[in-house]
Amino acid sequence: MGFLISRLGQTILVLFVAAFVSFALFRYVGDPVNNMVGQAASLADREAMRQALGLDDPTLLQFGRFVGQAVQGDFGISYRFGQPVAQLLAERFPATLELSIVAMIIATGLGIPLGVWTALHRGSWIAQALLTLSLIGVALPTFLIGIVLILVFSVWLGWLPSFGRGEVVSIGGWTTGLLTWTGIKALILPSITLGVFQLTLIMRLARAEMLEIMRSDFIRFAKARGLRRRTIEYGHALRNTLVPVVTIVGLQFGNVFAFSIIVETVFQWPGLGLLIIQAIQFADVPLLAAYLVLIAFCFAVINLAVDVLYAWIDPRVRAAGMGRSAA
């Protein structure tokens, strides 16, 4: 319990720092008044605007107001779209989250078994072939994988759509593509594209960890105890392998989420990545600032989840009350 509280404390601190950076960006990059009323407004108009926005108040007060509004989900109005930023993000968030989750499920679901298998069958030609393939997966740029997949499965075979999200269903404001056939089909290529690099990374890490654990003293002692091979490999070695792998999976999930921009561009996926590309092009500062807070929030939640999972797997962490510190 103390463990959880100290973790929560750290999470809140991280969010606070992110909020401050985001506030600084919002307040000091460019002139908010200029951005809103345009060059043509009169000096008096500008002054009225400054007053209305509270831009002459002390910085600390302004930051307090920023945080207070952010907590209520109010991040201001997008310069580019003229809509509330929160509403824009909320529309796009489910698309990116679903894409990221499915990509990580593919990467983890295949990566861990493949890594473990190649470690246990070191020397077999299939394991060698898988390793070589995984090297290619690491080296290939993501957009190239996406384009090749589109070429094969959309253009040549015509099996899967090459862009968009398909039909989506809205459940309490959350739009999901997982409940319609076209939605699922549309998700396949982008999630594979996004997952390939993670898959190879997780596979290679799981393999390396498994090899390391299989050489460790307690595995040698387990063999000396005459335990069966399956028990040693899956009961002891695999569990110990999962400890570091869980950490990486968590951190990579954050990365996948934050850097889905390339895949969203290739597949015209209506998620946060596409939105942010536009925001950057138009220097849409409120949108960027809010996006920053959102990403920080996601990382913080993921880290917290990883820590809890970590403590659940490893009694040493539970006892120490402190896990590895999040990156």
Binding site: S216, D217, F218, R220, F221, A222, K223, A224, R225, G226, L227, R228, R229, T231, G235, H236, R239, N240, V243, I313, D314, P315, R316, A319
Partner: protein, 329 residues
């Protein structure tokens, strides 16, 4: 009387890049039921490799290249993997050097004990937990019932090695390969753990191959002593005789180092020079470059084992049955 364990002309090689290194060369000894055989020698002498070969746990690049290992009258070095596994932990158990790393950190010690017993013994889970509880009490763990639910990191090094002993004894094996069981422990607990090992073996009639480089441990616990040097057995005999009047000059050097060993931390011996490694073998007697009694033939001819009193010594000085040199002052 046939011995519990017989090792005959054991040879272990290590496949190195272009050649094969000889790690264990023509080693023979036996351990009768209930005996504690101490195995001593400098680090790298081949003690652990010998123990590993007996357990059938040699792993590439090391492999058994010759000789036989016979346990209770049956050859075990050519058993298939599954038959050897069933023997391991059941008939031949092991205790390794480092108790801090011998246990699975993610599993309670009770679960590890139960898992071992259920693998080998025809008992149910509840019976296994009962026995696990009894074993922890026997190895001197306070509050054994609560400790069953503890994870290894919650126990001190000495306590963990007691758990390792409980694991080694949980299926009532006939032989225990104890590879430096106290070396990694605090000096203050070494004696306690050694006493526990001795007591449990005596009560059950378990034989032990007690590997150590600590002559003090030998003097305290071993019935007989085998001395290894550069992958060979150079002398084997009753502890009292080896301590009193060793035949091999190397053993004499080891014995001379006992007083300093008592202070621990000191080097094993004061013999100048160093032991040849498997990748740079020495012709003739492997000890001759360091031997103060060296003769011409030692440089070219490898001595076989000669009877010297109740001992066997692989030294040309012992060829005619006479002890090589005077008893130790």
């Amino acid at each position: 009387m046939s011995a519990l364990l017989e090792v005959e002309n054991l040879r272990v090689e290590i496949a190195a890049r272009a050649r094969r290194l000889v790690a264990i060369d023509d080693v023979s000894f036996s351990i009768p039921e209930g005996e504690v055989l101490g195995v001593v020698g400098e680090s790298g002498a081949g003690k652990s490799v010998t123990g590993t070969a007996i357990l059938g746990l040699l792993e590439r690049p090391a492999y058994q290249a010759g000789g036989r290992i016979v346990f209770r009258g049956n050859r075990i070095d050519n058993l298939d993997g599954e038959a050897m596994r069933a023997l391991r932990g059941r008939e031949i158990a092991a205790v390794f050097q480092d108790p801090l790393t011998s246990l699975d950190p993610l599993m309670t010690i009770g679960a590890q004990l139960v898992e071992t017993m259920l693998t080998h013994l025809p008992i149910d889970r509840q019976e296994a937990w009962t026995r696990a509880h009894r074993l922890l009490a026997e190895v001197g763990i306070p509050a054994p019932r609560e400790r069953l639910q503890s994870y290894p990191h919650e126990l001190s090094g000495g306590m963990r090695q007691r758990v390792v002993l409980a694991l080694a004894f949980c299926c009532e094996p006939k032989l225990i390969i104890a590879d430096e069981p106290t070396t990694a422990l605090d000096v203050s607990i070494q004696a306690q753990v050694l006493d526990l090992l001795k007591r449990m073996c005596r009560e059950r009639g378990t034989a032990v191959m007690l590997v150590t480089h600590d002559m003090g441990v030998i003097a305290e616990a071993a019935d007989r002593v085998a001395v290894m040097y550069a992958g060979r057995l150079v002398e084997i005999g009753p502890t009292s005789e080896i301590l009193r009047a060793a035949a091999h000059p190397y053993t004499q050097g080891l014995m001379a180092s006992i007083p300093t060993m008592r202070r621990r931390g000191g080097d094993l011996l004061q013999i100048p020079g160093s032991m040849p490694r498997p990748d740079a073998p020495v012709p003739g007697c492997a000890f001759h470059p360091r031997c103060s009694h060296v003769m011409d033939r030692c440089r070219s001819e490898r001595p076989s084992s000669f009877v010297s009193g109740a001992s066997l010594a692989a030294c040309w000085l012992a060829e005619h049955g006479a002890p090589a040199a005077r008893p130790r002052p």
